[in-house]
Amino acid sequence: MANSAFLKSSLAKKYWMALTGLFLCLFLIGHLLGNLQLLSTEKYGAALRFNQYAHFMTTNPAVKVLSWLTYISILFHAIDGFWLTVQNRKARPVGYVKNSPSANTTWASRNMALLGSLILLFIVTHMASFWGRMHFDKNMPLYKVEIEAMGQKQSFYQLVNGQFVPVEQVAMSLVEAREKHMPKYIHNKTELFDTNAKIQIGELYKDLYKITVDFFKQPTYGLLYVILYVISMAVLAFHLSHGLASSFQSIGMSHPKYSPFIDKFGLVFSIVVSVLFAILPVYIYFVL
């Protein structure tokens, strides 16, 4: 490392900004692929697939490592960005009386800090609405399906292993199971236990699908949330339209042969990803 000050120098900050940003773009792809399960048109398909995705994302050990990397990247990207912005402001203590920045730069490239701050605000509220409930809500609903057989409707829990268990057989606690003589009960939010043997016989899905659909279908604020989410995705599109191609430049990847492709790819990526994300709340509100 010699005398490079690998964390403090202006160039090192650029590398970290670029690497965390690129990693977060990969995260966006994963997140988007999961969310797109909401569009499934099979019967129960959207709910089951989306809950399977949520289950996978919260229990798989490899995903756990990736999710911690994601949290760290978001924090580092935000803190580094804030620090860079403070330094950059200091580099020009007296501003110009007349300035024409639109003559030589795009609006998005000049407003990355503003766009990034809005995205951070979005991430915090978005995580409180979904991630927080998925992880910490004690009253998180569990995934049920209504199956009609011989003219009768019956509710079943669908287990992670694919089995169906009638809802009326399952108590919410051991105490309730004993009182009401129910053969099964739920322990530790999602674990299905046998009342007599007191051993785990299955795993239930948390119903993040229901949380998501209910969130955007709230009678008073649903439409407002849909609009705010669509705006947030527009903000994301602007941020990525500069950020993605810019991060390749920052880590030194620039060449007359492939840079034009990277620039176009960055633009296409930012638009496609943001539009696909934005479609989902609109779809839930207007179609479901």
């Binding site: 010699a2 120098s9 202006s10 580099a91 490239s109 810019s246 030194g252």
Partner: protein, 252 residues
């Protein structure tokens, strides 16, 4: 093309010395030839001011043919004025309209403090150059002729394009972050591309970037303003090359 004369309004930054608080002053200047350069227009303004027994406007200039890098000026919100690939001395009054108001300000950067009026101190660039912008050559009498070393034509061309930087500071002035990375990128590249420069490449990039940071220049956010405003058309590729060189040097 027949010479035309225009009347213009000027708003010029006036500042007595480095410590004084400056402000914009308005001047009216009549009968400016559209064939005169921007600096000749300022000469005309100063003549008028001297005749009025007022202090002339101080501004930097030297060769007046776009090669020395002395002239600067932030004109109507852009470094070296509205046209591309020219310095202020190559800007002509035919680029302005009759009756137009023209704003003239010095480069604004913490690392380029104003000395007087429109003159800024760009010695921070000199110190960056001194930190590593050179090759060490043995001059004991058996110096090898540079032309004796075979160099790929494409590399030679790119090194030459980078070396076209005249160090005027337009990149810093037009960057919203006051970053000097186009300048340093060009100076790193002009050596990094040539075999003579490879020997000291490692220390050069580390030292020049360290000096750049110490001078108080901002951080690059790849907005690309510098490349557009650079009178010599120095490409952003040079910044990417500096980023590569620095990464290589930091990790070895």
């Amino acid at each position: 093309m027949a010479t035309k004369y225009i009347n213009i309004n000027l708003k010029v930054w006036r500042q007595k010395d480095a410590k004084a608080k400056g402000q914009m002053e308005s001047y009216k200047l009549d009968k400016v030839s559209t064939d005169s350069s921007f600096l000749e227009m300022l000469d005309q303004l100063n003549e008028q001011l001297v005749n009025e027994r007022k202090e002339p406007v101080a501004f930097d200039h030297d060769c007046r043919e776009g090669i020395c890098g002395m002239c600067s000026l932030y004109i109507n919100g852009r470094a070296h004025g509205p046209d591309r690939f020219i310095t202020t001395c190559q800007l002509h009054m035919r680029s302005f309209k009759d009756g137009e108001t023209i704003f003239i300000e010095p480069w604004r950067s913490k690392a380029f403090p104003v000395i007087k009026d429109l003159v800024v101190d760009r010695s921070s660039f000199d110190r960056i150059q001194q930190a590593g912008g050179f090759v060490s050559v043995n001059t004991s009498g058996n110096t090898i002729d540079a032309n004796a070393t075979p160099i790929n034509k494409a590399d030679a061309d790119r090194a030459f394009e980078a070396a076209a930087c005249i160090g005027c500071g337009a990149c810093v002035a037009s960057c919203k972050n006051g970053s000097a990375m186009l300048f340093v990128g060009a100076k790193v590249s002009q050596y990094a591309l040539l075999p003579q420069g490879k020997v000291e490449a490692h220390d050069r990039v580390l030292n020049m970037v360290r000096q750049m940071d110490e001078e108080g220049f901002g951080n690059c956010t790849n907005t690309g303003a510098c490349e557009i405003e650079c009178p010599k058309g120095i490409s952003l590729e040079n910044i990417a090359r500096m980023n590569r060189e620095y990464l290589k040097a930091s990790l070895s």
